[in-house]
């Protein structure tokens, strides 16, 4: 109890005497923690959501049966007549676009009559079915929808399925356990509407507890054809989650950068408070406080920062998560799996995480200054006056450690991924950040020594005073530059990575999209949805004057080695190619593509090759329909459209195994002299009653770049926060610097300094800090960008990115940081000019 009282008197009270600095430190912790939990919450929401859309009305089944291109109807009958006590529930799973809102919603087709009579399905009940009057009524037309789509039975709803739009009669509203936006129809109608004639998408099977699930899977496999897959129900969701793991990991790591920046600031705050209170600590030691108690007191102070920061972070993080979910949603849809953001749940796990991260970062960054406090000897109480204690900086020792860390960082960058995660890549990045922090004192001192003369010549005596004072409190300066430069480095490295990626994609697109006009069904693009276009539309377009050829592109969602992927086919005879090679082997496109024709040959995308360790010359076994087919891998092509990976076949090969002729995309080639606008109008005319989108070559590129930019929007948001934390830290630290140096600043007034000169001096200090941080940050950022591009990105996503300096973006960003830093000096500068020199200089 007395301890607590003492802690409050000696540690907490002083914090209130400097409200601004205390507030900036707490806010820095809060922002850092908020970013971490925002990303966690948003990730959870995104990951939770695809479960709800695919698994709508799945009931409690244990096993699912699937096949690429659908499971033939007759297998449903075969399974149902097996002499086992099992429940067989075939399903159609597709999606529709609600015409009114443009929202994509899941469409589920179930055998309603069987479900209605099924007393085993406990988890949901259609209201209509319980009502005897409906029994035997026509269940085969109309839809049941989630409460978000219609309010009551009898409403009409307009849905677009594939490229066809129709009105449906709402027969009932689904209970909320079925999700609020699902569309349910009878399986027969769903087969027809989604053109799945003779096939179902998934068969869910309920089996008794005994014998084990493995044995049941075994039994079912025995009666089913080779290509049909038998898995525990929900495997797809699990796979999606696993597929997104790398993405979430990278995002998570990125979200911790703001926290690292915050750590620098806590370190600085506690260091400063230790330095200022040395005499006080000395007195306490003389009065009987042990070293251990002093250490504990400062660590508790940091815990206080951590706890308060974490508590503030909870509402802040939740608010940020809302924005993050929207940004993430686009990325997840275009790269991984169609999903709708789930709800954001601030649960105990997140609260625990916030406290752990907040307290953890605070204590870690306080250890070194707290130990320094514990070293203060009681004799210092007797030291006359409150002279600034000169912080010992072991810059040479630190520099050598930095060199060691740098070498370790290079070594770590060369170690391959573990379990698909670039753990050593992260380690390498951390080592480089550590090296940079430790090299900072030596670097700052060298740069200041070299730059003071130039600065003084340019800016006058204020610059001399500013750079001397920065050099005088080298440790503090180094920590500040360290914090700001880490934020700048993050911005630079991610900027370079994204810029390089973007440039690579643009260059790649220029060689990848040779057709003049592209078509796909209306709706937001999502990587795992493949709505089709009616085959006759393709034929009609092909016959238009001015059209030379149409490439019918068809894609399917497949599962390879328990990971989702995309299987696609193209009409290799029609497609034209640019001269450049899109292949890792460097062979001309024309040659590789020609070899694809005839025979079971395939090409795979680079991310696919990396993920599954496939290379040219290997054999790839895919389940297609009811069969398992082995393909010869001819080559690996560069691809930046999807992380999950592509396998591409010739259209004829694909049709041999999966005979559905409907394409998912069309690429239209014009005759040499044809007028683009005229042909486009013609295509619009023939597709007038079809819900298709028509893109010119230019449109589709712009669209791709737009999606790309959206994908990376979240990284920009994270960077911005790290920068804000750092700039806030600079403002707080400059303020502390002003307060600690008030005597010196007062003295300058005695020596004839004008207020404007004092202000200029503080602003020059801010400017020099900003300049040093930009320089160091640019350097570190360059190194980190190499790690990001060639190690982390390569190991987690498998993309080959060409290095590219996004000069304009970097310049703009660095300028903003610089200006922000100088602006951060305004308030401290004002305080500095308001000091009353007489009070600070004279002594009793």
């Amino acid at each position: 109890m007395t301890r607590l009282l003492l802690f409050f008197r000696l540690m907490v009270r002083p914090l209130f005497r400097e409200p601004i600095r205390t507030a900036t430190t707490v806010l820095a912790v809060a922002l850092g923690v908020a970013v971490v939990i925002a990303i966690e919450l948003a990730g959870d929401a995104a990951a939770g959501s695809f479960r709800s859309s695919v698994e709508t009305l799945a009931g409690d089944s244990e096993i699912e049966v699937t096949a690429t291109g659908g499971v033939p109807d007759d297998l449903v009958g075969k399974l149902a007549t097996l002499p086992y006590p099992i429940r067989v529930r075939p399903r159609i799973e597709g999606f529709a676009v609600v015409t009114q809102t443009g929202e994509s919603v899941p469409v589920i087709g179930l055998d309603l009559i069987a479900e209605a009579g099924d007393r085993m399905s406990r988890d949901w009940k259609l209201p209509d079915f319980a009502d005897g009057s409906e029994r035997g009524a026509d269940l085969s037309s109309g839809v049941w929808v989630g409460r978000r789509l219609a309010s009551k039975a009898g409403d009409q709803i307009k849905l677009q399925i594939n490229d066809d739009t129709r009105e449906y009669k709402v027969r009932g509203v689904l209970p909320s356990s079925a999700g609020d936006n699902a569309v349910l129809m009878d399986i027969a109608e769903a087969q027809q509407e989604l053109s799945r004639t003779g096939r179902v998408d998934r068969i869910l099977i309920r089996v008794p507890d005994q014998p084990s699930l493995e044995i049941w899977q075994q039994r079912l496999r025995q009666v089913l054809p080779d290509g049909v897959q038998v898995r525990p129900q929900g495997s797809g969701t699990e796979e999606n989650r696993r597929m997104m793991a790398a993405f979430r990991w990278n995002l998570r790591i990125l979200s911790y950068v703001a926290l690292v920046v915050g750590a620098f600031l806590i370190y600085n705050t506690i260091s400063v408070s230790v330095v200022r209170r040395r005499p006080e600590i000395g007195i306490l030691r003389a009065l009987g406080a042990s070293r251990r108690e002093v250490l504990a007191a400062f660590l508790c102070e940091s815990i206080l920062f951590g706890v308060v920061g974490a508590l503030l972070a909870l509402p802040l993080g939740r608010a940020m998560a809302v924005g993050a979910v929207n940004l993430l949603g686009t990325t997840v849809n275009s790269l991984y799996v169609s999903s709708q953001p789930g709800s954001i749940n601030l649960n105990w796990r997140i609260i625990g995480l916030a406290l752990m991260v907040g307290i953890g970062v605070a204590v870690l960054s306080a250890i070194s200054p707290a130990r320094e406090a514990a070293q203060v000897s009681p004799v210092e109480a007797m030291a006359r006056g409150r002279r600034e204690y000169i912080l010992r900086v072991e810059k040479w020792r630190d520099l050598w450690i930095a060199v060691g860390l740098g070498i370790a960082g290079v070594a770590a960058a060369k170690i391959p991924a573990i379990d698909g995660k670039p753990l050593f890549g992260y380690l390498s990045a951390i080592l480089f950040i550590g090296a940079s922090a430790l090299a900072m004192p030596a670097l700052v001192e060298a740069l200041l020594a070299a730059g003071t003369r130039v600065l003084t010549a340019l800016l006058g005596v204020e610059a001399l005073l500013a750079s001397r004072s920065l050099k005088g409190s080298l440790r503090r300066t180094a920590v500040l530059v360290g914090a700001l430069s880490t934020a700048v480095a993050m911005m630079t490295s991610v900027g370079i990575m994204v810029g390089s990626f973007r440039q690579t994609v643009v260059v790649w697109m220029n060689s990848q999209l040779p057709a003049d006009i592209y078509l796909r069904p209306v709706g937001n693009p999502a990587i795992d949805r493949h709505p089709t276009i009616s085959p006759d539309l393709a034929d009609q377009i092909e016959k238009l004057p001015g059209v030379e050829a149409v490439d019918r592109f068809r894609s399917y969602d497949i599962n390879y080695q328990n990971m989702p992927a995309t299987l696609a086919s193209a009409e290799t005879e029609t497609a034209r190619y640019y001269h450049s090679s899109g292949f890792l082997s460097g062979k001309p496109d024309r040659e590789v593509v020609a070899a694809l024709r005839g025979g079971d040959n395939a090409i795979v995308s680079e991310p696919f090759a990396n993920k599954h360790h496939v290379k040219a010359g290997d054999t790839l076994t895919l389940s297609l329909g009811e069969r398992k087919v082995s393909f010869h891998v001819l080559d690996v092509f560069y691809d930046y459209a999807s992380e999950r990976g592509f396998v591409i076949l010739d259209r004829d090969t694909m049709l041999k195994y999966l005979p559905d002729p409907a394409p998912t995309n069309l690429a239209v080639y014009l005759k040499p002299r044809a007028n683009l606008a005229a042909v486009r109008r013609e295509i619009e005319r023939v597709s007038a009653n079809r819900a298709v989108l028509i893109f010119s070559n230019r449109d589709i590129r712009a669209e791709a770049v737009r999606i790309f930019d959206q994908t990376f929007a979240i990284t920009y948001a994270l960077e911005a926060i790290a920068i804000i934390v750092a700039v806030m830290g600079v403002a707080g630290a400059l303020l502390a610097l002003v307060i600690d140096r008030r005597r010196e600043l007062g003295l300058l007034r005695f020596l004839g300094a004008a207020t404007a000169q004092i202000r200029k001096m503080i602003l020059v200090e801010a400017g020099v800090l900003g300049l040093l941080a930009n320089l160091a940050g640019l350097l570190l950022g360059f190194v980190l960008s190499l790690v990001l591009i060639y190690v982390i990105n390569k190991q987690s996503f498998g993309w080959t990115i060409q290095f590219h300096w996004p000069v304009a973006v970097l310049l703009a960003a660095l300028t903003i940081v610089y200006v922000a830093t100088v602006l951060a000096g305004l308030y401290p500068a004002r305080i500095a000019t308001r000091l009353i020199p007489i009070e600070v200089v004279h002594e009793e």
Binding site: E388, G472, L751, G752
Partner: protein
Amino acid sequence: MEMKPESRSSATLTAGMPVVSFQAVSKDYLADGQKVRALDNLSLGIEEGEFVALVGRSGCGKSTLLNLAGAMDFPTSGRVLLDGTPTSSLNDSGLTCIRREKVGFIFQSFQLLPTLSAIENVELPLLLAGSPTGRTAAREMLGWVELAGCEDRMPHQLSGGQMQRVAIARALVHSPRVLLADEPTGNLDTTSGDMILNLLRRIATEHKTTTLMATHSLEAAAMADTIVRLRDGRVEEVLRR
């Protein structure tokens, strides 16, 4: 040394134009909401080249008087004239100008900037005043205080007496009209203190720089031409040699 007492509330010391003159000056401070009168209707004139010692108990208003004389602060009432210019007629930048041209300060605890070398400390007032080259003047000044060869030492590499000599050089480098010294020997041992006092004496004699020195020590006061004894913010007596 003969000292003869003059009238207790003398207005001016001589008839000539004083360099610093206090005319019925009062100065109040607000400390914890309470008004503290540091100077009370004080009048005083100081001649060119005069070396004045201000003596009196701690808290009698010596530092306050020096601050007003150095254009660091305004009086609550009355006028302070520096070289004929009333300080209250000037704004902040006007005061800064006066300080740059006419005033040099020396403090008890030296007050060197710890991050600047000796010579950089000395040339600082010139640089702050915007003069591009102060090196030569600073070097000369350091030579005059017998610190030639110590130009590039940092303050923490100097002894107390050396630091105070650097401070004197800094206070004189721009040839001020008035040198204001607040207990310049307070933090020094006798030997160093004597050296500083001798320097101050020479400044007044050789440079004709008007010097106002607040001090506790009678020994120090004995070096001065004039001793002004303060008590509770008033001039108690003025002793002239």
